[in-house]
């Protein structure tokens, strides 16, 4: 016990940070074990036992990396809203894919495209909302996020005036809505 305490003191000053939290640990374990079952596909005792041991070790080491927030009541609503958002995002991806496809096969692409940098400030505050919005921009062909600051300053590279004009648009409101903004 004294050995363990000394180790804790030398590694980190804050003991609360080092203590294993049960709920993040359980969630991490379940996610890891589900992934293990899907990837292994073997349901006998030996292979599942190996899975339990490995998942316990990994969850003990890295549960604070996967689950960083401390409130869990918001998680189901968050995932529900994300699942509502995803079909809309897919539809936007389809639309802009058709747009870029037309540009690629146009007779003279160099006159049709107009590459430009778009700078704007988002009103989103939540880090995850900012990242989700940035990833959504990059996933949509025709716009790529170049830079993003923690204060919500975006720099986006757009391929032509149509895709540049669509920023920030509905996507900002909708990705903000996932995280309750």
């Amino acid at each position: 016990m004294s050995d363990k305490n000394e180790k804790n003191r030398s590694v980190s000053v804050d003991k609360d940070e080092r203590r294993l939290k049960p709920i993040p640990f359980a969630i991490t374990f379940l996610v890891m074990f589900a992934l293990w079952l899907v990837l292994s596909g073997k349901f006998d005792a030996f292979h599942m036992g190996l899975g339990v041991i490995s998942c316990l070790i990994v969850a003990a080491m890295s549960s604070d990396l996967l689950i960083t927030n401390t409130t869990f009541s918001t998680i189901p609503g968050l995932w529900g809203r994300f699942l509502m958002y995803f079909p809309w995002l897919l539809w936007q991806i389809v639309l802009s894919n058709i747009h870029v496809l037309k540009l690629v096969y146009s007779r003279d692409p160099l006159t049709r495209i107009n590459p430009q940098m778009v700078y704007f400030k988002s009103r989103l505050k939540n880090d995850m909302a900012l990242v989700t919005f940035a990833n959504s921009i990059t996933l949509t062909p025709g716009t790529i996020t170049v830079a993003l600051s923690v204060y919500g300053d975006y720099a986006v590279h757009a391929i032509d005036d149509t895709t540049a004009g669509g920023l920030p648009g509905d996507m900002e409101t909708k990705s903000g809505h996932i995280f309750g903004e």
Binding site: L35, V38, L39, G41, L90, I93, V94, N97, V100, L101, L103, V104, Y105, P109, L110, I113, N114, P115, Q116, M117, A134, N135, T138, L139, T140, P141, G142, T143, I144, T145, V146, A147, H157, I159
Partner: protein
């Protein structure tokens, strides 16, 4: 079963057409930054359609069983991970270009 084959074939044909479009776009567009836009089409639509076709085929061909569901789940996981990592990789590569000081091609320079 013929319905399944037609749907899967259609999905994969459209997906491969997107791949071809992306390759053509990478040749026809003028500079590094604008070439990343058609490359991004592979990440989203190309992968979604081809992997979606494969996932449907894995799930329904030969009847739904545990093994076929596991194959389906693995293919879905591929799409999920590509959707998370590929925008990050695209962002990393465009950010590297900006930091290195490569100026984007603009129309005004030519006129």
């Amino acid at each position: 079963m013929i319905v399944l084959t037609v749907i899967v074939g259609l999905l994969m044909a459209v997906g491969l057409f997107i791949f071809l479009t992306a390759a053509v776009g990478m040749i026809r567009f003028p500079d590094f930054y604008s070439r990343l836009h058609p490359a991004g089409m592979i990440d989203c639509m190309g992968v979604l359609l081809t992997m979606g076709g494969l996932a449907l085929f894995a799930l329904f061909d030969g009847g739904i069983s545990l093994a076929s569901f596991l194959n389906f789940a693995k293919i879905v996981l591929i799409v999920v991970f590509i959707y998370i990592t590929s925008p990050t990789a695209t962002h990393a590569i465009i950010d590297a270009g900006m930091r290195a000081g490569l100026q984007p091609w603009t129309k005004k320079k030519d006129m």
